[in-house]
Amino acid sequence: MKERLEQLKQEALNKVENAESVQNLKDVRVEYLGKKGPITEVLRGMGKLSKEERPVIGQLANDVRESIAEAIETKQSRLEDAAMEKQLEEESIDVTLPGRPVQIGGPHLLTSIVEEIEDLFIGMGFEIKEGPEVETDYYNFEALNLPKGHPARDMQDSFYITEELLMRTHTSPVQARTMGARNGGEPVKMICPGKVYRRDTDDATHSHQFTQIEGLLVDKNVRMSDLKGVLNAFAKQMFGAEREIRLRPSFFPFTEPSVEMDISCKVCGGEGCSVCKGTGWIEILGGGMVHPNVLEMAGYDPKEYSGFAFGMGPERIAMLKYGVDDIRHFYTNDIRFLEQYHKA
């Protein structure tokens, strides 16, 4: 009996080994492990065996069954894997075909620059203030030490709507409004970005509408060295730590002393080239200590309070930083321009 079982085992294992499909394996299972199979047959004849032999043969028969079952299982999973492999091979694709495009938009370059500057100054504790684009003559000029008939008004030829209303020529009126709202008692630390308008014929370097960002800090004991420190911090973050800044005297009716700030030329590193017209420096913004008349008109005592203000043009910064060669690009909205500056 023992021999018979061993023989059956060998037979079955051979058939498993040679099986070529899952169906072959099923047949093997039915043939050898089924109720009518030879092993069951062997077990049925156990009655003829002695008491001692019975458990030995029983055990052996079970072992044989298990061995066959296990072999079937192993073989089956091998066959299944092979089948899947084959199927996956058939599912193969050309990975170089283009993917389904995702429609991606993005911010306008000026917005990116304005927000970058905003965030930089927010980091230094400034708040963002906004104001109307149609301004009164008072806030646009008079409150900024530019009384009617002042020759410096010519520097900012304006679009008037009525004698008292005009398109603001700078964002400075937001400063005057903010200071005025504080009743001369509290410090002001603000940035005001926005659109401004001047009577200029649109060409490569002029635009009747453009963007400005101005900053203002009014407090007790504000020094000109503070202006220098803040602008230095700004310039290094905005343009790179390796850039130098230089302040030189200038004139604005709303500041005294007034400054113009240059940064060292990126192209030549200060040696002088065509970009910086041979000077090694590029003019980037204007500013100064708030004129006492401006403080006074806003209700601050210029003996007690002092402050600084500065202003810059994001278009100019964009033109310098990215080499944009025509200011009209910012307002034409050519898709080929817009798409160039969609950074995350």
């Binding site: 075909l97 389904r100 495009p101 938009g105 993005g106 911010p107 306008h108 917005t111 100054f121 927010i122 980091g123 504790g125 708040e127 963002i128 906004e130 684009e133 149609v134 008939g149 020759p151 410096a152 679009f159 709507i161 009525t162 209303l165 398109m167 410090p187 630390k189 659109k195 014929t201 009747h208 509408q209 004991n221 504000v222 020094r223 000109m224 060295s225 503070d226 220098k228 420190g229 803040v230 230095n232 230089r246 302040l247 005297p249 200038s250 004139f251 005294e256 002393p257 007034s258 400054v259 041979g278 000077t279 006492p292 910012f330 307002y331 909205n333 050519d334 817009l338 798409e339 969609h342």
Partner: protein, 808 residues
């Protein structure tokens, strides 16, 4: 202001510095040097030649054959200039010379005759056409007799000079003169300069015997000085003076005019010369012009005057508009022998008024408009007399006839060293302060750390402490200020809720696939009223217009961003860029007044314009052009982003497709619209199907409520059921949805259309709409019967309200 380096060098020694270094120093101390340029390109080999003979070319009518002595040799030169003549001293470009424009001079033959060089015109030597004296405009330049043959013509003509261009800010009119520049440079380089004293030999005759002066408006004209100079011989001015005027950008004319211009450039004081014999009287009366008074100015124009203008008269007729331009009648001419020389102080505003009114901005008017130095007015007159004596043969009569109420006193400003340091953040000592005032040539009285500084009248821009603060800072050097950070109480910087929401909305649109654009706020009148959202239209009386627009295209403030956005689309489509998905966030300007008297309301809105292929993935058969629902989906996303339900209602709006347009409202308020641009307008703009939206962001931001409390995640599963309903064609999905939601409340959490069908197997005029309903009770699992009951209720309601049948 154009500054000749050679001229400046005569006043103050700057030779220690290279021109670039000097420019840098001047810029850093206060006046921006815009450029340093040579007068002419590098030229060599041009010498003074003497025309020994000049005969007609044997083979050419218009050419001359000249023998020219250039020092070492005599050259035969063929010259075509009409004014060449024997005995002239001329500029000769010898063979090997290179003229501007890389023009090389070579020995050559012209019509068979040898020509060994070229006799030059000023233009050929690089002088600007406008600076060339009229007599030499159409021919060669002729030197005065005294120049030496063979000497360097380039330096004689000052063409080797460098011109420093100063960009003057309006406050620094003191530097509108060579003297002023010299004072500034002296302070900058710590050099020394003082305006030299005038030396005039006067005759025994008294000027008062020739002329009297009456001033009617002393406020407008606090000083008027008249000098009388006889025996004038009008002719060319000396070469050096002509050179300097040319360098300053002024065309030389004749000695009398050149001298007044020269003193203008030297002192910054405009002067005017009248022909005494043509003046018509011996009495000068300055007065306000009469309204409608007419005079002819030097340029031959008839000018109509008004009482805003000041005129110089002979007691009857106006002979000059004060500070602006002289009259034609008493203009100095070749036969003039006696002149009245005017040196006056006219008030800036009266000159500005006249120059603006007549559109006559001149070297004179700009200086008067900014205020001339009261202490230099009369001195300038004497300086001109000195030069007229020397270079125009003039005899200066004794005395100057004046009307004089001019304030020439110096203002004072008190400065404390400690206050200066507090404001600058510096540690400047009293000694350094004193040194700065010395360099500026400001006199002062010192008492410890207090300085009482007298401001020279040439520096009319300095009136208050802060002006002195700037003077000290700039001479001390902006470079030497330390870097500090503000010490005051710090505040937390940040964005307001609106500013944050604005950034979020923009980020949303960009994530949704739109490009941000920025268009002009000022637009054409027609566009200002186009595609205006109904609620804006209701509020706005008419678009706000500029008083004096520069062009019709930018004359009115927009009530909608859409017209300019569509313009941007057209621009791109015309350049074959056809898939455009644009949005803009900006303000529109709403005035409720017909005649604007107060600031319009500025409302923040978001507009979008979409055209072209939204999905372009052809190889997998996925292609989709923009349609209404692409645009609507973007707005629905915004609604989700802000957690504000938007309601869309079909509407008919001007310039919009009548069947594909809807208004958008939030909490019962109309906030904007969405739809397809009317095909007629599309065609006009060269656009294919284009969809737009325009929505008021301010209302959205006001309605927005930040969700603070945590919403529990439902633990129990939802149950979904689908229903397909057959309804009449004109029943809207929105209407059914609303009915379903109302009838299903509170268990139905979501109703979503998933199929729309019309056609075969359906009755004519009917359509089938299928909805997926989501039932949920967050607190427990729903029982089948409950869902069933609600479902039946819904079916009854839609049947009742919309005659909807369950599709079999």
């Amino acid at each position: 202001m154009l500054v000749s380096l050679n001229w400046l060098q005569e006043y103050i020694d700057v030779s220690y510095y290279s021109p670039e270094e000097l420019a840098e120093i001047i810029t850093k101390t206060g006046i921006e040097v815009e450029s340093v340029e040579p007068v002419a390109e590098d030229i060599e080999g041009v010498v003074v030649g003497y025309v020994q003979s000049c005969e007609q070319h044997p083979n050419a009518d218009k050419l001359n054959l000249c023998q020219v002595d250039v020092g070492q040799e005599t050259l035969q030169i063929v010259c075509g200039a009409p004014n060449v003549a024997e005995g002239q001293k001329v500029a000769v470009a010898t063979p090997g010379a290179v003229l501007p424009g890389n023009f090389k001079i070579k020995k050559t033959k012209l019509r068979g005759e040898e020509s060994n060089g070229m006799i030059c015109s000023l233009q050929e030597l690089g002088v600007d056409e406008k600076d060339v004296p009229k007599e030499f405009a159409d021919g060669i330049f002729v030197f005065p007799e005294e120049v030496e043959v063979g000497s360097n013509a380039i330096s004689l003509l000052n063409l080797d000079d460098l011109i420093i261009e100063l960009g003057l800010t309006p406050n620094r009119s003191d530097a509108l003169s060579m003297a002023g520049v010299a004072y500034e440079v002296a302070a900058a380089i710590d050099g020394s300069y003082e305006l030299a004293e005038e030396k005039v030999k006067t005759s025994n005759e008294e000027a008062t015997d020739y002329i009297s002066v009456v001033v009617e408006d002393t406020k407008a004209n606090p000083y008027y000085g008249a000098f009388v100079i006889k025996d004038i011989q009008v002719g060319p001015s000396p070469l050096w003076m002509r050179n300097r005027l040319t360098a300053a950008g002024i065309r030389p004319i004749n000695n009398v005019v050149d001298i007044t211009n020269y003193v203008l450039m030297e002192y910054g004081q405009p002067l005017h010369a009248f022909d005494y014999d043509r003046f018509g009287s011996n009495s000068i009366v300055t007065r306000r012009a009469k309204d409608g008074e007419v005079m002819e100015t030097l340029d031959g124009q008839e000018r109509t005057l008004s009482s805003d203008h000041l005129v110089i008269t002979n007691g009857d007729k106006a002979h000059a508009i004060a500070g602006v331009m002289g009259g034609a009648e008493s203009e100095v001419q070749d036969d003039t022998t006696t002149i009245i020389l005017e040196a006056a102080y006219f008030h800036p505003s009266v000159v500005r008024e006249a120059s603006k009114h007549h559109g006559l901005r001149s070297e004179s008017s700009t200086r008067f408009e900014k205020g001339v130095d009261p202490n230099r007015v009369e001195r300038a007159g004497y300086r001109a007399c000195e030069l007229l004596e020397r270079y125009a043969g003039g005899t200066v009569l004794h005395g100057v006839v004046t009307h004089d109420e001019l304030d020439r006193s110096e203002k004072t400003v008190t400065v404390h060293t400690s206050t200066i340091n507090d404001r600058l953040g510096t540690e400047i000592t009293n000694e350094q302060m004193a040194d700065i005032f010395r360099r500026l040539q400001f006199s002062y009285e010192q008492n410890g750390e207090t300085f009482l500084v007298s401001i020279p009248t040439r520096r009319g821009d300095i009136t208050i402490f802060e002006d002195m603060l700037e003077e000290v800072a700039r001479i001390y050097g902006y470079d030497n200020l330390p870097y500090t950070l503000p010490a005051g109480a710090s505040q937390a910087g940040g964005l307001t809720m609106e500013q944050q929401l604005k950034r979020e909305v923009k980020a949303y649109f960009e994530g949704a696939g739109l490009h941000e654009t920025i268009t002009y706020s000022l637009t054409h009148k027609e566009k200002a009223t186009m595609l205006v959202s109904p609620e804006v239209e209701k509020q706005a009386e008419s678009p706000v217009g500029l008083a004096m627009p520069m062009s019709e295209d930018h004359g009115y403030l927009r009530l909608s961003m859409l017209p300019e956005l569509l313009e941007s689309l057209s621009y791109n489509v015309a350049r074959k860029q056809e898939n455009l998905f644009y949005y803009e966030v900006g303000t529109v300007f709403i005035s409720e007044e017909e005649q604007v008297t107060k600031q319009p309301e500025e409302v923040l809105r978001a507009s979008g314009a979409l055209t072209g292929e939204w999905v372009a993935h052809p190889w997998q058969q996925e292609k989709k052009s923009v349609d209404f629902f692409v645009a609507k989906g973007i707005l629905e996303g915004l609604s989700k982003q802000l957690n504000l339900p938007f309601t869309f209602e079909k509407a008919k709006l001007e310039d919009m497709h009548p069947g594909r347009t809807a208004t958008v409202s939030v909490n019962g308020q109309t906030v904007g619209f969405i739809g397809q641009v009317h095909p007629k307008l599309q065609k006009q703009l060269g656009l294919k199907e284009t969809f737009v939206f325009d929505i008021n962001l301010e209302v959205l931001f006001n309605e927005y409520q930040k969700e603070e409390a945590f919403q529990a995640i439902p633990r129990h599963p939802s149950v979904s059921r689908d229903i397909a309903l057959v309804v009449d064609e004109d029943v809207t999905a929105g209407a059914i949805e609303a009915t379903v939601a109302a009838a299903g409340d509170p268990l139905v959490k979501e109703v979503r259309v998933f199929d729309l069908y019309q056609g075969e197997h359906l009755e004519e005029g009917k359509k089938s709409l299928a909805f997926r309903l989501l039932y949920l009770d967050p607190l427990r699992t729903l029982k089948d019967e409950e869902v069933e009951e609600a479902h039946n209720r819904i079916l009854e309601s839609v049947k009742e309200e919309h005659n909807a049948e369950l599709r079999g």
